[in-house]
């Protein structure tokens, strides 16, 4: 599976969502974006924004305080 990666570790809200938005804006429909970061707030906010904008969350992992989201641009 091919995907681009965005690391937002250590960045406070709302920067993780803003960077996710900016990255997805530059991608084509159907492409995958992996977002790596940390924090409950950031994890929830990126997922909520992704769903609100109609993109698809393919996978959401939370192995520890970090998270890994795989988003499909729709």
């Amino acid at each position: 599976m091919k995907f681009e990666t965005l690391n937002v570790t250590g960045k406070m809200c709302p920067i993780p969502v803003a960077l996710t938005k900016r990255k997805l804006d530059s991608m084509d429909v159907g492409q995958l974006l992996q977002v790596v970061g940390e924090g409950d707030l950031e994890f929830d906010n990126i997922q909520r924004w992704t769903k609100n904008k109609g993109h698809e969350i393919i996978d959401a992992k939370r192995p520890s305080s970090e998270f890994i989201l795989l988003i499909k641009k729709c």
Binding site: C13, P14, I15, T20, K21, R22, L41, W49, N52
Partner: protein, 339 residues
């Protein structure tokens, strides 16, 4: 001053509030949502507790504190004062008999900042004729400011979050958009943030930030005064749960549905909300020291607006109340008014 209050916390203002569903779970598990005696007129999920002491006297108590929204200590103190007192003014009660402060700050925070915060808090309360009679201050990794307020009222004259009726019109007294505006306030102080904001005109950011700060330090006391003149069915202030969350509370407690077809937002915040991904147009963005959402019968609406106008309180019609079971519907094509 190099120490920035907003830099040392990851969440700001009412955004640090626990989500409604988590709070509900905690209260349920702790057994704090049980039935109260007849003397308790309002408990959890209302803006303030209300306990009836005698037939014509009720005591209102509320507690509110949060992390910094701004780096200017006196403004931060004023915002906290506005937020604490709002929880009593929202019930249509103008008499707050005293306030206690709650403050916490890290050891490396300069003392003059703590003094400034307390001064701003005290100045705000003084202007509202409320004595600050004590408080509690501790060391803590995050700066926190807030307080506990006590109000008194005739129990018959209190306006609750419950009580909205089918056919009511809904009015909101302050435009929405504190979260995106204040995110811009913080981000424009950082290189990475300035890059994110590079396509947004500076005057638009200024307008958003100025509008947000002015709104937060504006007291809801005149709204309470207006509510004393006109019969309002239900009211809630709009803070950390966002407009939709607080309206959901009103709808559930009133056993009705709420419909929003128009949302007022602070000028400049739509572009910022889009840039940062805040759900402003769905009424879900968190607010701090926000306005009062009032549900009023059609026949009294003009009288209410007249009382608000007399006191120079901004107001916006945002929707209406229909039959239902506690749902909130924000129209897909909701009209956005920049104010």
């Amino acid at each position: 001053m190099s120490y920035r209050l907003t830099k040392v916390v990851p969440v700001h203002g009412c955004s640090c509030k626990l989500p409604q569903y988590k709070l509900g779970d905690l209260l349920d598990k702790a057994g704090l949502t049980c039935q109260f005696g007849e003397e308790v007129l309002a408990g959890p999920w209302e803006n303030s507790s209300v306990v009836k002491i005698t037939a014509d006297l009720a005591i209102l108590n509320t507690l509110d504190f949060f992390t910094p929204m701004v780096d200017e200590p006196e403004i931060q103190g004023r915002i906290a004062g506005s937020n604490v007192t709002s929880d009593i003014y929202t019930l249509g009660v103008t008499k707050i008999v005293n306030v206690l402060t709650i403050m916490a700050y890290p050891e490396d925070m300069p003392n003059e900042l703590a003094v400034g915060i307390l001064k701003g808090f005290g100045d705000f309360c003084r202007e509202m004729d409320i004595p600050v009679v004590g408080g509690h201050t501790i060391r803590n990794p995050w700066p926190i400011i807030g307080g506990a307020a006590t109000g008194v009222s005739d129990p018959e004259k209190i306006v609750y979050t419950r009580g909205a009726q089918v056919g009511d019109r809904l009015f909101l007294t302050k435009p929405l958009g504190i979260a995106p505006a204040m995110a811009a306030y913080r981000l424009r102080k950082e290189e990475e943030g300035r890059q994110l904001l590079e396509d947004v005109p500076a005057d638009l950011i200024d307008a958003a930030v100025d509008g947000a700060i002015t709104g937060m330090i504006t007291s809801n006391k005149p709204v309470a005064e207006a509510m004393q003149q006109v019969q309002v069915h239900a009211a809630t202030d709009v803070t950390g749960f966002g407009l939709k969350g607080h309206a959901a509370n009103m709808a559930a407690l009133s056993k009705v549905d709420v419909v929003f077809d128009q949302l007022p937002v602070i000028r400049g915040t739509p572009v910022l909300a889009d840039l940062f991904g805040y759900p402003l147009f769905t009424g879900e963005a968190k607010e701090t020291a926000g306005g009062v959402l009032m549900s009023i019968g059609k026949e009294y609406a003009d009288d209410l607006l007249s009382e608000l106008d007399k006191r120079k309180v901004s107001h916006f019609e945002v929707g209406h109340v229909i039959e239902g079971t506690g749902n909130v519907n924000v129209h897909k094509n909701v009209k956005i008014i920049e104010a």
